[in-house]
Each structure stands twice: as C-alpha cells, then as structure tokens.
Amino acid sequence: MRTAFFKALLESARRDPRIHLVTGDLGFSVVEAFAAELPAQFLNAGVAEQNMTGIAAGLALSGNIVFTYSIGNFPILRCLEQIRNDVCYHKANVKIVSVGGGFAYGSLGMTHHATEDLAIMRALPNMTVLAPADGREVTAAVRAMIERPGPCYLRLGRNGEPVLHENDFSFEIGRAIEMRSGNDVTIIASGSILALGLQAAKILSQEGIEARVLSMPSIKPFDEAAVIRAASQTRALISVEEHSVVGGLGSAVAEVLLAKDLGRTPFRSLGVPDQFCPSAGSQEYLMEKCGLTVSRIVETARTLLSNLVPA
C-alpha cells in the first residue's frame, strides 16, 4: 500500500504544484524519490507532529493541498487538537496519511498499534476517513482525496498486501465496493483485512452459504444505502476490521441499522477488543489473538444464520 501511495502521490504532484508532502521525519526509503524530484513541494518538519500539522494547515490555507505523513498513531494523536481546530474547523485542505494502520507494526509494541484511529478521526466534523483494502484502492483513494476539498484521513497498511481487486472497479468516496455477490449473509470489511472476508466467503460458499462481500474503504462519509440494502437483501451482517470494536466500521454499521429501524437485523461486529495487547507479535499473531481470523468469520456467519432457522 505504501508503494502504491507514493507512486500515486508523486504522479499527481508532478502535475499539480499545489500538492505538498510534509513528513514528521519518517518514511525512510519511500519519501526520498518525492523529495529528490519535487523539493519545492516537500518538507521534513522534524519529529514535531503538532508543528507539522499546524504548518500543513497554514500551507493549505494559502492555497495548497498538503499531505502530512507519519506512521501509526503519530500523525493523529499528539496533534489531535491541531487536526480538530486548525485543520477541521478551518476546512483546510490537509490530507493526513498514516502508514501502519492496525497491527501492521505489531512487533514494535503498544505505541505502534494504531487501533483507535478510525474512531477518533470519524468523530471530527468536516473530516473524510478512508481505509483502503489494497494497493489498487489506495491509488484510487489518493486521486479521489485530491479531488475532494477539505480534511481527509487516509489509513494505510504497510507493504506487500495482496491485490484483492482482480477486475476494474469504480472508487467513489462514500461508496462501498461489492467484491462478491450473495444473498445469505453480508461481510463488510475496511482495510486489508478484507482478504479474510473474501476467504471466509469462499469457505461458506462450499457449504452452500453465499456471502456478499463489501469493501468499505470510506468510513466517513459512510455508504448507508449499501448497509440498508445488505440488511434487506441478505439475512445477516458481519463487520470485520483491524480496529477497536469501539467507534470504527462496526459502530458505523450499527448506527445505520438502528437509525433506519433495522435493529432486528442479525449483526456481529468483529474487531479488536477494547483493551491493549499484552505482548509483542506480528500482525498475523496479534490479529489471531484478537479473534480476527477466517475461521471466526465463518463461524460467526454460520451461527447468525442457524439462529434464524427454527430447530
């Protein structure tokens, strides 16, 4: 995802001198190409995220499109107030990019587990929140966020995620992308964890359960219509995210179901429990510890559907 991001950003920045990249002294081996080719559009703000975000707001309010870049929680938590007051209140054209969403930097420890970012960013007025699932969604997201004026948060994984989109697709902020059709159960996922949802759907299909799989790269604005359709056309919903169960994709789905009087729809939110991980571990290890596995998605689907059938 990181490679796709920098490729798309550089391509756009070559054509549009308003595009600036501001890093908080991170991005070794990936920011250099941009810095070398477009030095007048590049800035290393140093290890100072509050100032980085304020500067980005100042640059943006002077007519620029400014990407801030760092890893994990760094570009959003230390400088959260700058994001809220300086970026969001002023509708500044600042695009905040975090590489290493979820447990991508799992072994580095708790500080580097970015598992509440979507909830926090989603709560901010004027903020767009994107969590693409693979490199192809990233490329499309970068173009779309440049086109869309105002604040945006982009959560990236790390690198080397599998390509999940085999065919061309249409990417629109605020729209789900249907990866697989089906009318028994809907699996909704944001980010690279979509891969687990697709694998689960294959297994379920062998059992005669056809799962609709939606990629939901746009956490805000949120595709309410896709959730409503899923609730009316399929029998159960499962949300899957590499993020706390508090405030992210699962909460967004639940909010739609309740607000649209669809609260009786069988629904489970699979995510990171509301607690810190007590150990180091690879992304795969920590996800498994949190129950974010293909087998749990499959099991959840079976359980939800079997509960509907009178014994």
Binding site: A40, L43, A45, G46, A48, Q50, N51, T53, G54, I55, A56, A57, G58, L59, A60, L61, S62, G63, N64, E81, Q82, N85, D86, Y89, H90
Partner: protein, 281 residues
Amino acid sequence: MNLTSTAPVSANRHAVLAQKIRLHVLKMIQRAKSSHIGTSYSMADLLAVLYGGVLRVDSQRPAWPERDRFILSKGHGCAGLYATLAEAGFFPLDWLDTFYQDGSRLMGHISHTGVPGVEFSTGSLGHGLSIGCGVALAAKRKADSYRTFVLLSDGECDEGSIWEAALFAPHHRLDNLVAIIDYNKIQSLGRVDEILNLEPFGAKWESFGWSVREIDGHDFNQIESTLSSVPFEPGKPSCIVAHTVKGKGVGFMENTVLWHYRSPNDEEMRQALSELNAGCS
C-alpha cells in the same frame, strides 16, 4: 513613510485608537459578564499600531491575496481584536454588542467564521505560531510578498508546540514571519515567573535563531518603529518581546491576576469608564 517627521502625529492617532479599543472591550466584557479584559488591555496598544498603519490590509477586501496575515494566537484576547477590526471597518461596530451572546458569530475565543478580517481561529494556546510558519513558508515558496504577524501571550509559551515552531522558523529562514509576544508577566493563576519562569526570555528566542528586539509595548513610537523595521535581519524570523502591563489603561486593573478573569460590576464600570474617557481627552 518618513517616521521621523510623522511619529508624534501617528503616536497620537494610535493612542486614540487604542483608547477606543479599550472602551469597546470594557463594554463588551461587562455586557457579556465574560473574562479576559486584562489580556485585551495589555495588547491594545500593539493592535492599535498594527491596524493603524503597519499591516498591509484592506477592510474592503478582507481576502485580498497580497494582504499581510495577522494571527492572534492568544485567542482569549479576542475582544480586543474584534474591537480593532470593527474600528478598522472590517465589520459594523454594532456587531460588538453581540459579543459572547447566544447566536453571535463573535465567540469568546477568536473565530473566523463569518467575521471578516479574522485570519485564523484560535482559543487553545500554542497553535498560532505553527500556522504562521505554514503561511510564511507558503509565501516563500510562491515568492509572495505578504508578511505574517503572530501575536502570542507569555503564558502560551509554556506550550511545547511553541518551541517546535520556534525551532522551525529560523531553520527555514522565514524572515517574512514576525512573532510578537505580549509579555505582561501574568498568566491565569499567577505571575509567570512564579508559575513557569520564561527568563531569560529574549535570549531563548535568540538562541533558537530569531532576531529579537525587546520593547515597551505601550510606547507607540517604539512599537511603530520596531514593527516598521521587520525583518530585523535578512534570513531570520523576527521576534518582538513587548513588555506590557496586564490591564493597562485602568488603574485598578493594572498588573493584577484578578483581572484576567473578573468582569466589572457597575461601580467598577463607572470608574473604568471615567479613567478611559479621561485618557481620550
């Protein structure tokens, strides 16, 4: 402008504007039963000189691209800036009557939404200098000629983010950026040197790479000549440490912690009005 021949005349003009600002602020804060009169008064003379001729701004064209940018980082001093902008013609004077009231666009910390002339909204301390760095950097990168002025409070310099920005501006040679510090020596709960000492204050800025001048923030000639000679050194951002008196202009408010928060009662209002009106004559 030839300062030597016009200085006394403009000093008198600035004094008149400063007293008008103080009168507006008194009425606004009393009507609103709000706080922060002391901080509006310590910077009133600075604002009068800035908007009395130093800033290249045009009240009829608040979004004029070449305007100088003024950012009030000490957003709690908003009453002073709203009064200044109204006097400068950015919006009608009667808007000041709505300050702090239900439904008013004049919020209790400076807010730009729907208020011509307010460049940037603040209210949480420690934000404005970074914004100023970004705006100044944008001007450098596009070779625009406008300057950026940021007015800070002393207590605000407790915030770490101020020193992040203080590192940044000299490193990037932002000589189109001016930080003015309203050094009134009193913050929310007490005296600055008792709560978190900033001294040696000017030397700190200098050691970070700023070109620093310390002035009497109530001497109109000094304020004008200093603000008119930025950048003090090419290639360096300018820092003006303005020594001021909290509550300046009303004797019983001067240099007291109380008037950071207190709103005047009827008797205090009469006394303050009489002092300010005497000052105007």
